[in-house]
Symmetry: C2
Subunit: 455 residues, 2 copies
């Protein structure tokens, strides 16, 4: 409160409402007028006296001095305009994706009801009561050693990646990993190649970094490597489960992509966002598993298995990039919360993470298959049954505008995304539909509303 | 395991160790040779068959096909070089600050022994068991509404700032807030003015953004506004407690700084990093409290009061910048952990945060005063008794090199920082010494070692 009185008196003196020589009310009457304690007013007066703005003599009311420095009239300032870089960073390609601000069956989100809240709460509690020493401060900003160790083990077993824990950086999630890689490896005006259609977060990160985006077409074998332009410095790909079409990058394409990247000295960003719960077909080695993988930065996340708002992701970077990536990671402030990192490490180490994964993979498989089957009843749309993940894509092969369907679904409480918003050069129309939170009842209602809208 | 066998066989086929026509061992003998289960080998063989790399006929050993696409010899790839931007982002001005990688009485760090671990553990546990709905996903990336609300209230009361909760963004800490502001408001090659000596994290953020840094001298009244160059687009200042010299920015300088910024259309970054525990003198209104403060971005953090590794900071941005700052914040991935945000909000709402603040302020005041008093016994150094915070600065007025003192202290387990590393144009020599973890015994030992080194 004294701080506010101090601020308000100063503003009045600056703008001339209280000119030099004016006597302020006594602290007693000011306190009554303002409805605050007398000591609050006295504190504010004392501050102003200490700053040379009032004289206070015993027995008289405080007198305003209004020194020269205060004479400039206080104006409401307007902030400077955004820089060119700032305008890129503030682009929001997501804006056209949705017809509603909230709703169910939203893509990219796991089911909160499956979050292992009790286990996580226990693990967090233990982590918070632990003494962390220097890990509580700023050192090891690039990630908790226990989490980096268990991730290195899991990535070797599950994804074939030979990486030292030193090559792993923990970030605040895939968005941070993308922005970091784009900024460290490119300059504004350079080119990044990415799948078309492709992940909106990657597009936002690349636009934010001032990059030209070269769309690379995708078919049922994934991205077509021979469409990557020769000048691309980065190539972004989702090999396990192409976002949003759901295809897996075939082996010949994987090898061709790696060769092409190497030939043109480009870095591949492998976004392995939901390889952990593919239920159809088997996992194959990650791109980052091939050779010494010096040309690949691998990105993973706990967002889909646990919860996006935990803000934990990881990167495996080539050994030669570890030093610069760590420094840039720290300078950009991408450090993840300590307790959440330790809780995740503990959950992975104990086997409870894998058990949770099996549980949710079964649930999501059932939900995804049920949604795909129900959608199959609607004529005039195409559905690729999902191999994993938490969303599937509905195509409108006649190229019809998605807006009527999106609006009708929004009205019924659903929030699918507009497929065309994810497209760059190749126009595709349809919807991206989340099924993590899909119950049979919700699916029936969704299919009913969509059927009417496209009928 | 199947993923690793798949990867290794593929590498051998690609580099010609297993040419087309070669027959692989049966799964039984391969399993024996590798010490894995037969089903593991079969899974890998099946993957390679599905990918067209092996033929498997009943009763015969699998035969390598080595299709055309595999013929390119696998080479270890080297990653591309860093971009110009990446080289800036990877600069580490901190590198010269220390003579040791770890140690006690390190500046900028609170005492972990004072962290309210039980309270925090309870609050985290409640937050983790709570259902968060859409806050668990990606929406409201710029901060939990409950935390933004209580911060708006506290900032009004304690710092005189009139801000709507909409103007508050929660970030992963001051480093993130600095990098975000620098990137959104400037282009590479532009100028930022900052205090000399000044905060290393700010320097790292500004260098990372490719900015020219204009040093502004500091005296006992804080930064000298008339030394801010006319072309500066940003002005970075620590008004409550100048980092690292510990002075408070005087009222005439505050007003002159705001006027100057407005006149040249520059944005002021007010880093209020430890206004919360000043114990000498009273808090005065923040810079962001004056006028409509359209020209100030205000930064706060929980790092010093609680723990840096929680990764929670906050920004108050002018209303006109809210939209672009939110978009850039999301695109850069600067979102803080949900449970930590809610735990902090709850601790602030219940009054336990303020009680904790009083407790640690008393402890740090005692430690800071004890350290300053003991250092006063050493001749030939100058100590400015701290008004608050968690570190103080020792000056070597004879300009002697700090290295002998730093090395002797490092050998004794201490990790103060080198004052000259924080200087830009004006050379100052001395040490920045943390006292949050200073016991009487540690202080005596520190003074003994330093006394010998400078004697």
């Amino acid at each position: 409160m004294p701080v506010q009185i101090h601020r308000d008196l100063l503003a009045a003196i600056r703008d001339g409402r209280l000119p030099g020589g004016v006597r302020l009310p006594s602290s007693r009457s000011a306190a009554e007028g303002l409805g605050v304690s007398r000591s609050t007013v006295n504190t504010a007066y004392d501050l102003l006296r200490a700053e040379g703005v009032l004289t206070i003599r015993p027995g008289t009311a405080p007198e305003v001095i209004a020194p020269q420095v205060l004479n400039a009239r206080e104006r409401p300032a307007t902030p400077p305009a955004l820089s060119h870089r700032g305008r890129n960073l503030a682009l929001n390609p997501r804006a056209s994706s949705y017809a509603a601000d909230s709703g169910i069956m939203h893509p990219g989100a796991p089911a909160e009801s499956l979050f292992p809240a009790d286990e996580w709460a226990q693990a967090l509690r233990r982590a918070a009561r632990h003494r962390h020493g220097e890990l509580a401060n700023y050192d090891t900003a690039f990630g908790h050693p226990a989490l980096r160790r268990i991730l290195a083990e899991r990535l070797a077993t599950d994804r074939g990646i030979r990486a030292d824990p030193e090559q792993i950086l923990i970030t605040t999630g895939t968005q941070a990993s993308l922005a970091l890689t784009a900024q460290v490896m490119t300059d504004a005006g350079e080119t990044v190649a990415m799948e078309d259609p492709g992940f909106m977060g990657a597009r936002a990160a690349f636009l934010g970094a001032g990059l030209e985006i070269a769309p690379v077409p995708v078919d049922e074998h994934g991205l077509k490597p021979d469409h990557v332009p020769g000048g691309a410095r980065l190539i972004y790909v989702t090999p396990s489960n192409q976002y949003p079409l759901g295809y897996r990058l075939s082996l010949p394409r994987r090898l061709a992509l790696l060769d092409r990247a190497q030939a043109q000295n480009a870095l591949v960003i492998e976004d392995d966002y939901d390889s952990e719960f593919l239920w159809r077909g088997r996992e194959i080695a990650a791109l980052a598993a091939h050779g010494e993988s010096g040309g690949v930065v691998y990105l993973g996340t706990a967002a889909k298995v646990l919860m996006p708002a935990l803000r934990i992701g990881w990167m495996v970077v080539p050994a030669a990039l570890v030093g610069p990536m760590r420094a840039a990671h720290r300078n950009l402030g991408l450090m993840a919360n300590l307790h959440a990192q330790l809780a995740l490490a503990e959950m992975m180490r104990s086997g409870r993470y894998r058990a949770h994964l099996r549980r949710i993979a079964r649930a999501y498989e059932a939900r995804g298959n049920a949604l795909a089957a129900s959608l199959g009843q609607i004529e005039g749309i195409e559905v690729h049954p999902p191999d994993g993940g938490v969303q599937l894509t509905v195509r409108f092969p006649d190229g019809r505008d998605e807006t009527p369907a999106l609006s009708a679904l929004a009205e019924a409480g659903f929030r699918p995304a507009r497929l065309s918003a994810y497209c760059l050069a190749e126009p595709l129309n349809g919807l991206i539909v989340g099924f993590a939170d899909a119950t049979q009842e919700r699916i029936e209602r969704f299919v009913e509303v969509l059927g009417k809208a496209v009928g």
